[in-house]
Structures are given as structure tokens and as C-alpha cells.
């Protein structure tokens, strides 16, 4: 298991594991059967529509005929969540985040419980995402550069009146054979409670090639390491110091 630095006040606001699968035996009873597997830890069940005509697919969302309901199973404190549709399973962790070992255990347990009730034919895509919110104190180009090692190159002549919003996405290919990519999103947000200049910092590692259930454990370690390296590299030391201050 990879050793990673632990911060006193990490900026993590959510971790999401996602698994897109194909099956022939989904029925309207499946959410109830799955509930009986997880209800001790996730007793609160709710259902919402993915939207009329919205269906999930491994390469995105399709708008057209078809429909997907999302069934959500939450812990009593709503900090740990599993969601399922007829081709997607997610495991979400909201603060308090209790560390990678604990979250990985949640994922493995959720997948094990799911394959007990569902004959998963193929896992067509798998992904791990961390969503962080970082206060850069003021929305300016200079502050963005002070907090992130990744920033757009905007010449001084183009920012005479200041830059007050930045949206930046990029993707790198990490493993060609298994189509594994790392994607990063940085987006400044409007001022909100407890944040002067919030900036969303998302890191997403995904494998777009099929994987077997037994390969998930190893893949999770790789994904976690990739996310950790990206987190440490993209944030400046000045930014990271804030996560250790009292």
C-alpha cells in the first residue's frame, strides 16, 4: 500500500469511485436486493431520476430514448454513499475523510456486495476522482499562479483589467494499452461561506479498457498513487502549507 502524506486540514470535499458495467440480469428488484446487502452500514435509501431520456454509458451520458434511475444508499451521517443504476456503481466519501485505507475498504466492500446480487458480465470502465476546494484568497491571475503550478499563459497585455475567472482542463495519457488517462480540472468559483475565492480542483484517473472484478484492488492502488502524485505536483508549496496550519 502506497504511503502518502497526510495533511491536518486536507482540501478534499469528495472522493468518488465509479464503475461502469454491463449485465443482462438487472431487474427493478435489484436495488432492493442490493439494499439487503448493505443496509447495516448504509441504512438510508432514496431514489432519483437521472432525468427523462438520460442514460449512462461508459463513454458519457446519452440523451435520447431510455431512462436511468439512481438509487442511493447513505450512512446515517450521510458521509458515505453508494449509488447504483443499471450500468453504474459509485462509492462516494464526503468529509470526514478517514484516509485511503478506509475508503478503499468501502469500495472493495461495495463491489463485493454488488457482485453478490448482480451478475456483472463486463466492467467497461472504472474511475477514481478526488474533488478539492481551495481558497486562493482573491480571484486574480497572480494568486492562481501562487497556488497552482498549472495555469494558463495569459500575457500581461491581455490581462490589463485583471482576470477574475479561470477554467482549465487537461488530460494526459498514462497507460496506452489499458487506455488509462489522468484528467485535471481547475475552475474558479464565486465567493461562498468560509471561502473568499474558492477554486475547484478535480483530479480524475480512469481506465477505459475492460477490467475483471479481481483486478480492481490492484488498479485502485495505481489510481490512488496517480492521484497523489498529481495532487502534490499541481499544488505549490505555498498552497500546501495552508493544509498544515492550525
Amino acid at each position: 500500500m502506497t504511503k502518502t502524506k497526510k495533511y491536518k486540514k486536507p482540501p478534499l470535499t469528495e472522493a468518488v469511485f465509479e464503475l461502469f458495467y454491463r449485465t443482462d440480469n438487472w431487474t427493478p428488484a435489484t436495488p432492493g436486493q442490493f439494499y439487503s446487502q448493505v443496509k447495516e452500514k448504509y441504512p438510508v435509501i432514496s431514489q432519483s431520476s437521472g432525468g427523462f431520456g438520460v442514460s449512462f454509458a461508459a463513454n458519457g451520458i446519452q440523451i435520447g430514448p431510455g431512462n436511468n434511475n439512481i438509487t442511493r444508499y447513505s450512512s446515517e451521517n450521510s458521509q458515505s454513499i453508494i449509488q447504483i443504476t443499471n450500468n453504474l456503481l459509485t462509492v462516494n466519501k464526503l468529509p470526514m475523510y478517514e484516509g485511503w485505507e478506509s475508503y478503499k475498504g468501502m469500495i472493495i466492500d461495495a463491489v463485493s456486495a454488488f457482485v453478490q446480487v448482480m451478475d456483472v458480465k463486463t466492467i467497461s470502465r472504472i474511475g477514481l476522482r478526488t474533488i478539492n476546494k481551495i481558497d486562493i484568497q482573491a480571484h486574480s491571475y497572480e494568486n492562481f499562479k501562487k497556488y497552482f503550478n498549472v495555469y494558463p499563459n495569459i500575457g500581461s497585455g491581455l490581462r490589463k483589467n485583471g482576470i477574475n475567472s479561470i477554467q482549465l482542463n487537461y488530460q494526459t495519457l498514462e497507460v496506452e494499452e489499458t487506455e488509462e488517462v489522468l484528467a485535471v480540472n481547475l475552475s474558479t468559483l464565486r465567493k461562498e461561506e468560509k471561502y473568499n475565492a474558492p477554486t475547484l480542483f478535480e483530479i480524475y484517473y480512469t481506465r477505459m479498457k475492460e477490467i475483471e472484478t479481481k483486478g480492481i484492488d490492484d488498479w485502485l492502488e495505481i489510481a490512488h498513487q496517480q492521484l497523489h502524485v498529481a495532487f502534490e505536483s499541481i499544488l505549490t508549496n505555498e498552497c500546501k502549507q495552508n493544509f498544515d496550519n492550525d
Partner: protein, 160 residues
Amino acid sequence: MIETLNTSTSKPEIDSVFLPAKIGINNSTGYKIQEMSVFDARFLFSVELQRQKVKTELQDWFEFEHSSLEVDFLISNEDVRRVLPSIGRDFKKSLGSETPLSLYLLSEDEGWETLFINIHAGGKLNWDYYNEFRNEFFDNMFDLFPKVAERLNIDIVDAI
């Protein structure tokens, strides 16, 4: 099977998680299919991003008294969320664009929750006008969106 309209290259490229959408035809139904990118789809199953989306959609019109409570209520009550921007726009038009509006969730007995729209009138609104405004608002809401109307209330924080 989706037959994409994109031109193919000799070597298949790795998908971009940011790029949407092939647009194509589902051969079995003949319907046109549009696809959103995987990255955009995350709004449907990330709690934090759903919360952020709701805040962003509404913060031109409203402040949140207890951000997470009101936002989570709106995530579970999509019909209420959909009409709130129009309500915010209309309130600002009728009461003045500088009149602050805030959302406050009141949890009542038996699990019933009501979302209050608080009007911070700064002593500039008289009760007669407010009562007329309120009655007209609910008359319209119960005509147009009765299910939404029963989960909403409005309150004036300070009036003459």
C-alpha cells in the same frame, strides 16, 4: 449500436474525458443520440458537484441561510430548483434589484420541510404591498406549479 458520424482515423484514438459527444443514430430505434462527456456526467453522481451546481445556478438571485441544508433540499426537490431562478428574477423585478433574497429551510414535524424565501426589504416595503405581492405570488404558483407551491413560503424580514 450507435453509428457515429465522426470520421474515423486509421489508428483509434484514446477518448478525451472532456469532449462530448459523438452525435449519432441508434440503429435499433432510429432515434438521434447525443452524448455528454464523462467529465460533464459527473454532475449526476457527485454530491459535492451537485451542490456546487445548485449554488451556481441560484447565486445570482439568492443567498443561502444554511448553505448545505437548503442546497440538499433543492437537490432532492428538482421541481422546486427548476422554478427558483424564475422566481428570483421576478422578485428582483418587482421588489427592486438591490433587495436581498435568501433561502431558509424550515424542518417541520413529520419530516415535512418548507423552503422560505426571505425578503430583506431594509424597511422599504410596506405591509399592504407585501401582502398583495404575496397573495398574487401564491395564486399564480398554485395555478401553475401546485406541487412546488406547497413546499414554498415567503417571509419579509423587515417591513414598515
